[in-house]
Subunit: 184 residues, 2 copies
Amino acid sequence: MISPETAELRILDAAETLFYGRGIQAVGMDEIRSTSGVSLKRLYQLFPSKGELVQAYLRRRDVRWRQKLAAYAEAQATPEESILAVFDWLHEWFGEPDFRGCAFSNSFGELGATSSAVAETARAHKEAFFRYLTGLTAAAGKPASLGDHLALLAEGAITTAAITGSAEPAHQAKAAARVLLEAA
Amino acid sequence: MISPETAELRILDAAETLFYGRGIQAVGMDEIRSTSGVSLKRLYQLFPSKGELVQAYLRRRDVRWRQKLAAYAEAQATPEESILAVFDWLHEWFGEPDFRGCAFSNSFGELGATSSAVAETARAHKEAFFRYLTGLTAAAGKPASLGDHLALLAEGAITTAAITGSAEPAHQAKAAARVLLEAA
DNA sequence: CAACGGAGAGAATGCTCGTTCTCCCCATCC
DNA sequence: GGATGGGGAGAACGAGCATTCTCTCCGTTG
C-alpha cells in the first residue's frame, strides 16, 4: 500500500492534469481514480467530496503558480526588469503544450455561478496576483495604479493566448507594459 | 400556438439568460423549456441538439455584443474618443446586475477542451474584437499594435471585473489606454 | 493460529440529464 | 361529422456520474 502522503500527491497530480486540461465537470471521480491509481475508497477518505478535491486542486495550483512567477521575477537584477520579466514568464507558460489559460478564470466561468467556494478561490487568486504586481511596481518606485494596469495586461494576455492558442499576446503585453512603465 | 419565429426567439432568450448566468453544463434542456415556455418537441425541431442551441446562443450573442459596442463607440466625435469610449461602454456593461464576464471566455473555459465548435466560436469572437479595435486605432492614425494592446487591456478588465465583481477595472483600463494612446 | 481491521476492486444506488416516445387534444379539410 | 396531422405535456429511456456498499484479501496482533 502506498502512504497516505503519496496517495494525496498522486490524486492532486491527477486532478490538476485532468481538471485543468479538460474542465472540472468533464472529469469524473472514476477517472481521477484510474489516473492516480488510488482506490475510490482512499480517494474519498482523503477528499470527502469532489468539491473538496476541486478546492484542494485550486489551492495548490494558486500557491505553485505564484511561487514560480515570483521565482522568475526575482531572478532579475532590477525592479524594472522584474516587472518586464513577468511577461517573459507568461510567454514561457503560454508555450507549454498543455497550456489552457488560467485555471481560476476557467473554473470561475464553469462553476463560479453555482459554487461560492470556487468563486471565492478565483477572487483570492486574482487579488494575490494584483497585489504581487503592485508590490513590484512599488519596489520600482512606481504608483500602485501601474501595478493594476500591468495586471490587466497580463490577465488579458492569458485569456487571449488561451483562446487563440498563440503565445504572441505575451510579447504584445510586454511591449505595452514597457510603454506604461516608462510613462509612469 | 406561437409562431416558429417567436418560439425561436423565446428559446434563444432563455438560453442566453440561463447559459450565461449559470454556465452551460449547469442548465438542462428542461429548464430551457420551462423558461421559454416552448415545448421540448418544438425545441428539438428548431435546435436538433443542445450543442446546436449553444452555438446559436453564442453566435447571436457575438453579433449583438459587437453591435452594441460599435454603436456606442461610433457615437463619439473623434477616433480617439471612440477608442476611449470602448472602456466607458465596458464600465456600463460591468455594472449590469447580471454581468458575469465574457460569455465566450466562460464557455471556452468550460467546454473549449471538449468541443471544438465552442473553441472556434470563442476564437472567432476574440479575433473580431481585436480586429475592431485595430480598426479604431487605424482610423486614429495609430499602428495596429496599439489596437492589440488596447484589446488586451479590455480583455483583462472583463475577466477581472467578472471575478472581483467590481466595475472598477474598466476605469483602470481606460487610464492605461489613455497613456498608450498618447504615447503611440 | 485465529480474529480483526484496514485496503482494493468494482458493483450497486440514486440522481441528473439529453433525447425520444406516447398519448391526447384540437384545428383543418373531405 | 369524421379523418388527420401537427402540437403540447410529460413519461420513458439510456447514459453518465458522485457516492456508498460488498466482498475479498492480507498483514498485524493477541
